[in-house]
Amino acid sequence: MIFSKYLFFILSFIAIYAALKVLISKKPMHSVLYLTLTFFAIGGHYILLNAQFLAVVHIIVYAGAIMVLFIYTVMLLNLNIQGEFPKSRLAKFASAIAGGILLFTLIAVFRSYDLKVLADPSLNQIGLVKNLGKILFQDYYLPFELSSILFLAAMVGAVMLGKKDIY
């Protein structure tokens, strides 16, 4: 595929631009929407990796559920009136440098490993739902069941916290 490289660059650019915009935007609502854009770009990356099942789960979980929850919270809290809580310029500068150093460290660490490419991602079939399903329900059956209990606990917890007369 000749396009896939260009697609990779376009998607990466969108993702990083939107991720930066999440931090720059003044209104929380804009931050949420830029984050949604980042998630869509990452979904595109999953499709490039031929992980279609993950791509669709990603869209359902992140774009469909988590971001809607965020939007709801922004609406409920009425944050736009409050606006931004500015930090001191020194703190901003220091944290930006810290982030940059972290980025370089991460890349240096990964570079020092010899990462062997064993397969062509555009051809392999492991991301298809048939293969993933078999592995999920054979090797990872117990974690799968446990995650359902985690969900139940989270649901009960969220309802408990959301109730007004909790005390």
Binding site: M29, L33, Q52, F53, I59, A65, V68, M75
Partner: protein, 362 residues
């Protein structure tokens, strides 16, 4: 180029081959995408207009009126006239709105609708994308529309819009569960999420007959939840006219309002088409096990006609809901979903698994 009304695989393949002969692969891809896009646009515009007309006529029928009669024969041109009126209207942007988001919201909803259309199989070989996760893809894409609705409500700077958007967001999020769980029930029976395989598996008997009791329960749940997900029928409290003027699109006018309006009707079509594909055999003709001659007569009707007949039937059913049931309250809607439909659905999945395991189906 052979034109076969029963199987479009050959036609699309021939088109692709003849494009490849004359153009480079890149040009071929671009030309094919353009053709597909234009086809979908035309289909959405024309079918949306038709659905609006049909809705008004059905409504009139239930209320013992005539409906639109003046423009054209039996009022056939009424929706076109309305559409021209909407195009000519001034685009008003109210004071204090978040301009960018306000203008973006209608497009997000339209995009979500478009994307969901891509996997619907209209006839054999007449399907744009044939994912191996087709059913899953439709549920994923239809959840994007919620973001558009919430943005529209929030950016309008209007309390009616905000309340309407929050109501419809909560409603869509909760009913999506029922839609996907009832589809999961049928996936267990079909053994695949690929829509073409699902349709192919219904050659002998439609899944609603094949899976008898659990399939019937899933179908009823899917219809209820699908109606709720499109904000229609008795579940249209997001735009309850008497309390919220028009819900999340109160502040929109002209062509932007038309986008919301069109998306709503096309979403209804998508719900109906999914119901038809998964439960009622898609474009497969009606077959009864041993009636050979009857089956042959049914085979003679082209698949496109079958598909649109079934979709029309389901759409009529959905419209029937809307004009006969009174609107529900917010708490009633959420109670219906979380306390009734969801438990029934979970038990139903268990039932369907038992049916499939014991090979109790047809």
């Amino acid at each position: 180029m052979g034109f076969n009304i029963y199987d479009f695989t050959g036609m699309t393949h021939n088109m692709h081959v003849s494009f490849m002969e004359h153009m480079s692969p890149l040009m071929t891809t671009i030309v094919e995408w353009t053709i597909i896009g234009v086809c979908y646009l035309l289909f959405i515009a024309l079918f949306g207009l038709f659905l609006v007309y049909a809705e008004r006529k059905v409504c009139a029928m239930f209320q013992q009126r005539m409906g639109p009669m003046r423009v054209g024969y039996w009022g056939l041109l009424q929706t076109i006239a309305d559409f021209i009126k909407l195009l000519m209207k001034e685009l008003i942007t109210p004071k204090g709105v978040d301009k960018f988001l306000y203008n973006l919201a209608p497009f997000i909803i339209m995009i979500a609708t478009f994307m969901a259309m891509a996997v619907l199989p209209f006839a054999k070989g007449l399907q744009t994308l044939d994912f191996d996760i087709g059913v899953f893809y439709v549920t994923a894409v239809s959840s994007i529309g919620v973001i558009g609705i919430l943005i529209a409500g929030w950016s309008s700077n209007n309390k009616y819009s905000l309340i309407g958007a929050m109501r419809s967001g909560a409603q869509i999020l909760s009913y999506e569960l029922s839609v996907s769980l009832s589809l999961v029930t049928m996936i267990i029976l079909a053994g695949s999420m690929q829509l073409s395989v699902i349709v192919e598996g219904q050659r002998d008997a439609w899944f609603i007959f094949k899976g008898h009791v659990p399939a019937l329960i899933a179908f009823v749940i899917f219809l209820i939840a699908g109606t709720a997900e499109t904000n229609r029928g008795p579940f249209d409290l997001a735009e309850a006219e008497s309390e919220l003027t028009a819900g999340f699109h109160t502040e929109y006018s002209g062509i932007k309002f038309a986008f919301f309006f069109l998306a709503e009707y096309i979403n209804m079509f998508i719900v109906a088409a999914m119901a038809v594909t998964v439960f009622l055999g898609g474009w497969m003709p009606l077959h009864f096990g041993s009636l050979e001659s009857f089956n042959h007569v049914m085979d003679f009707i082209p698949p496109l006609v079958w598909f649109f007949l079934k979709v029309g039937g389901v759409i009529f059913l959905i419209m029937w809901f809307k004009w006969t049931f009174p609107r529900l309250r917010v708490d009633q809607i959420l109670t219906l979903e979380w306390k009734y439909l969801l438990p029934i659905n979970l038990v139903n999945i268990l039932l369907m698994s038992l049916v499939v395991l014991t090979k109790f189906h047809l």
